[in-house]
């Protein structure tokens, strides 16, 4: 099989029709550049809009969106207040334990904490600031305070109380929720929104001092610069050196029910499943890669020669044209009979009948006439029987003429 070695470069190399990697890249250069520009542009826009990282939750001190509270936390840090973020009850407890006497800023807009856990949270710190608490938080933290609905957006409301932080702030603007307290509770009520509803309520509880803050814009990045909002927030939250900012997350939800399937299976099950997927992927590439392009070949058209005949037969059958069909059969038989009998091609039917009768003396003339010309079939059974008799007559004549 092997031929002698050839000298280098005697014959020209075969020209490859498969493009090289470089060629493909050159051909797609415009689109590749366009895709790169689009990706870079998207990244720039993402960074510029400040969505790169950070939480999206309200009251989160890592949230830079208008609803977040990062601005407040940063300013507090500049004022040398140690702002500690706690995402779970355990973290909050650890943080408070590390810095006794810290202020606890608490909000649970997601309602993650159960009643028992709220009670535990209420006992954490002596000084607590509640942001827009709901019914459950109020019950646990400040039993004497109740919600008084959400008033309309305010243009500016004066403190109207002796709370130092409120007095320092003077006026606040923005919206939120208002609260009321029982008259005999001795609670400090500031920033009245309507009859007996207030934005800020400070009350003394067995666990310590609890300040309920209902004005959203006092906290949010968007509203903190308005009127005395910043002063109020900084005064309320900056009283101690340490501020534990506890906004519960989904991790605070207690797991219950039977153990899920993930904790029962070994660690390697998911990786093995993933490995199966990759194996299938590799197998797909292995089997799917073609060895060169498909070969094109023009094939000639195929026409069945019987088509016309079959089509006409079906047409006869569908139209029930038994007379017409029998006539065709008779013409064929008469033509063959006349050639068997040696009659000229232009012999008439009557001449053929007479000749047949002469060859077959046993048959009555009327019978031959009826088969060859006269009888009219009334249904398809007749057609089949007459067709059989035509064949029989033809073979009888053939036998009689050529014994």
């Amino acid at each position: 099989m092997s031929a002698p070695p050839v000298e280098r470069g005697t014959a020209p190399r075969a020209e490859a029709t498969t493009p090289t990697l470089r060629g493909t890249a050159r051909r797609w250069r415009f689109w590749l550049i366009l895709a790169a520009v689009a990706v870079v542009g998207l990244l720039v826009v993402a960074v510029a809009s400040g969505t790169g990282g950070g939480s999206r939750a309200p009251y989160s001190i890592t949230n830079t969106a208008p609803e977040g509270s990062k601005a407040l936390a940063e300013v507090l840090r500049q004022q040398s207040v140690d702002v500690i973020q706690a995402d779970t009850l355990d973290e909050a407890r650890a943080a408070v334990k590390a810095a006794p006497g810290a202020t606890l800023a608490f909000a649970d807009p997601g309602g993650y904490l159960s009643d028992e856990r709220l009670d535990e949270a209420a006992e954490l710190a002596d000084r607590v600031v509640l942001f827009l608490p709901g019914f459950n938080e109020l019950r646990a933290f400040a039993p004497g305070v109740s919600a008084a609905g959400a008033p309309r957006e305010i243009d500016g409301v004066d403190a109207g109380c002796s709370l130092p932080a409120a007095v320092r702030a003077g006026t606040i603007i923005g919206g939120g929720r208002s609260y009321r307290a029982a008259v005999d509770s001795g609670a400090e009520l500031c920033f009245r929104s309507s009859d007996d509803a207030y934005y800020v309520v400070r009350t003394e509880t067995p666990n310590g001092t609890v300040t309920v803050l209902g004005a959203t814009d006092v906290l949010s990045n968007r509203g903190i610069t308005g009127a005395g909002n910043a002063a109020l927030a900084l005064s309320l939250l900056g009283e101690d050196d340490t501020l534990v900012w506890y906004v519960p997350t989904a991790y605070d939800v207690e797991a219950d029910g039977p153990a899920d399937i993930a904790s029962l299976t070994p660690d390697w099950v998911t990786p093995v499943l993933l490995l199966t997927v990759f194996t299938f992927l590799a197998a797909a590439i292995w089997r799917g890669r073609r060895l060169g392009a498909l070969v094109v070949e023009n094939l000639p058209v195929t026409v069945r020669s019987r088509e016309t005949m079959e089509g006409r037969a079906r047409l006869y059958a569908r139209a029930g044209a038994h007379t017409h069909a029998l006539d065709s059969l008779r013409i064929g038989t008469i033509t063959r009979l006349s050639s068997i009998l040696g009659l000229p091609r232009n012999a008439t039917v009557d001449e053929v009948i007479t000749s047949v009768a002469a060859v077959l003396p046993a048959r009555p003339l009327s019978d031959i006439q009826s088969v060859l010309v006269a009888a009219v079939p009334s249904n398809e059974a007749d057609l089949v029987s007459y067709s059989d008799r035509l064949l029989e007559l033809e073979s009888a004549v053939t036998r009689a003429v050529r014994p």
Binding site: V6, L275, A293, V295
Partner: protein
């Protein structure tokens, strides 16, 4: 780029370390990632070490022509101009009807050496069968990943009509020689020409005695016995035959699993082979609405070669044959009186109207012979009358036969002659009719 089954196996084998390390150190995810990275890395190394499939010299040795039904071998020489050995898979992209035995072969070519790949081809369709090139998949030393490229290396093989009817040729040639011998003392007349003078022997026709030659012979040999000289005649030679093969839509129909046009080609080849031995001159036209093929001015072996070469690539067109301009084509070929053989279809009077309209002007100048393939299925259907459907089919078949008889009668009336036969019978029947015409001196 391509991967092999080996690579898939390598990836799948990762299940062993993933499970073992997952059980022992609880590091299943890390193991998975590392194993996949390792597999891909080995694959990339393998790819880099593979010989380039582009640095190859391809030479093809291929016979030019092959008769349909015969087997030839195509040889492909691959020279490796890499510094590494080429281990790979080579696919020669022949068209399916070239009938390649194996289109892909594995090959190992050491650096700067040449190897031959042989493929046997048994084409099963007439015409030009081609291959655009070859595709080479070159694996690395581990056989995991491969480089792949398609190299242009066009090849073409012309598949000629089979000329199966040549088996009828010896018997017809014997008949032709008989005809020559039998007619050497024939009375002069149409279709014969002067051959030679020879001495009278008892039994010769006295009317063929050439008295003038007898007298001259007597003068030269005065005093000797007077010898009677007679003239001998032989069949005319150098008659012209124009074969017209219809390539219109009716020729696409398959009868006995053979398109009508193939039968027409077979019949024309047998006729041409016979007639060129008889000393006649043959011209061929393949015609529908334009000339699809044409052979003129060839004789002997060259004639048959050119005919099969011309007709090899002709397939029926799906359009109606333009008979009215066909007469002009015949006139362009010859002005002499000729035998015009029309290889076409006799179907219904409606579809034959074009043919019938041109016959008078052809028959005026030439002897016209219409040869058509008849369908044995129709004859079979006539006598099958078991049930209702078959009876209707028999009636329809009778109608077809009647139509054909009418067209045949019309052609005869217009001065033509008709030969019909099944695909296997038509070529010898046409040859016989030619011999009969020649014997009758009607050429």
């Amino acid at each position: 780029m391509a991967v092999s089954g080996r690579f898939v196996l390598l990836v799948a084998l990762g299940v062993v370390p993933v499970v073992l390390l997952g059980e022992a150190y609880r590091q299943a995810e890390l193991t998975l990632v590392l194993w996949l990275l390792l597999s891909v890395l080995i694959g990339i190394v393998d790819l880099i070490l593979a010989a380039s499939p582009r640095r190859l010299v391809i030479e093809r040795v291929l016979p030019n022509r092959v008769r349909l039904g015969e087997t030839v071998s195509s040889e492909l020489f691959i020279t490796n101009e890499n510094r590494r050995a080429l281990r790979g898979l080579v696919r020669d992209a022949w068209q399916p009807s070239a009938g390649a035995a194996a289109t892909r072969q594995s090959v190992t070519v050491p650096s700067y050496e040449r190897r031959m790949l042989r493929t046997t081809l048994t084409p099963f369709r007439r015409g030009d069968r081609r291959t655009a090139g070859i595709t080479v998949r070159s694996f690395g030393p581990l056989g995991l990943w491969a480089r792949q490229a398609t190299l242009a290396s066009p090849g073409r093989i012309r598949v000629l009509p089979p000329f199966n009817s040549r088996k009828h040729l010896p018997s017809r040639l014997a008949r032709l020689r008989e005809l020559d011998g039998a007619t050497s003392v024939q009375i002069r007349g149409q279709g014969t020409e002067f051959d030679s003078l020879r001495e009278y022997v008892r039994g010769d026709d006295v009317r063929s005695i050439d008295w003038r030659a007898t007298a001259r012979q007597g003068d030269a040999r005065a005093g000797h016995e007077q010898k009677l000289m007679i003239r001998t005649w032989r069949p005319e030679r150098d008659r012209r035959i124009v074969i017209v093969i219809d390539t219109g839509r009716t020729q696409a129909a398959r009868i006995d699993d053979e398109p009508r046009i193939d039968t027409s080609i077979e019949a024309s080849l047998l006729l041409a082979a016979l007639a060129t031995r008889a000393g006649d001159r043959i011209d061929l036209i393949a015609w529908d609405r334009r000339i699809r093929g044409r052979v003129t001015g060839a004789s002997g072996g060259e004639l048959l070669n050119r005919m099969v070469d011309t007709m090899a690539t002709v397939d029926p067109e799906l359009l109606e044959t333009d008979w009215s301009s066909m007469a002009a084509q015949v006139r362009a070929v010859t002005n002499q009186r000729a035998l015009v053989v029309l290889l076409t279809t006799i179907d219904t009077p409606a579809s034959a109207s074009g043919l019938l309209s041109v016959l008078p002007q052809l028959a005026q100048r030439h002897t016209v012979l219409v040869a058509a393939v008849s369908d044995p299925e129709i004859l079979r259907a006539v006598s099958e009358r078991g049930d209702r459907d078959e009876t209707y089919r028999a009636a329809s078949a009778e109608r077809s036969l009647l139509d054909m008889a009418r067209v045949t009668a019309a052609i005869t009336r217009l001065g033509g002659d008709v030969v019909t036969g099944s695909p296997s019978a038509l070529p010898p029947m046409l040859a016989d009719r030619y011999l009969a015409l020649k014997a009758a001196g009607r050429l």
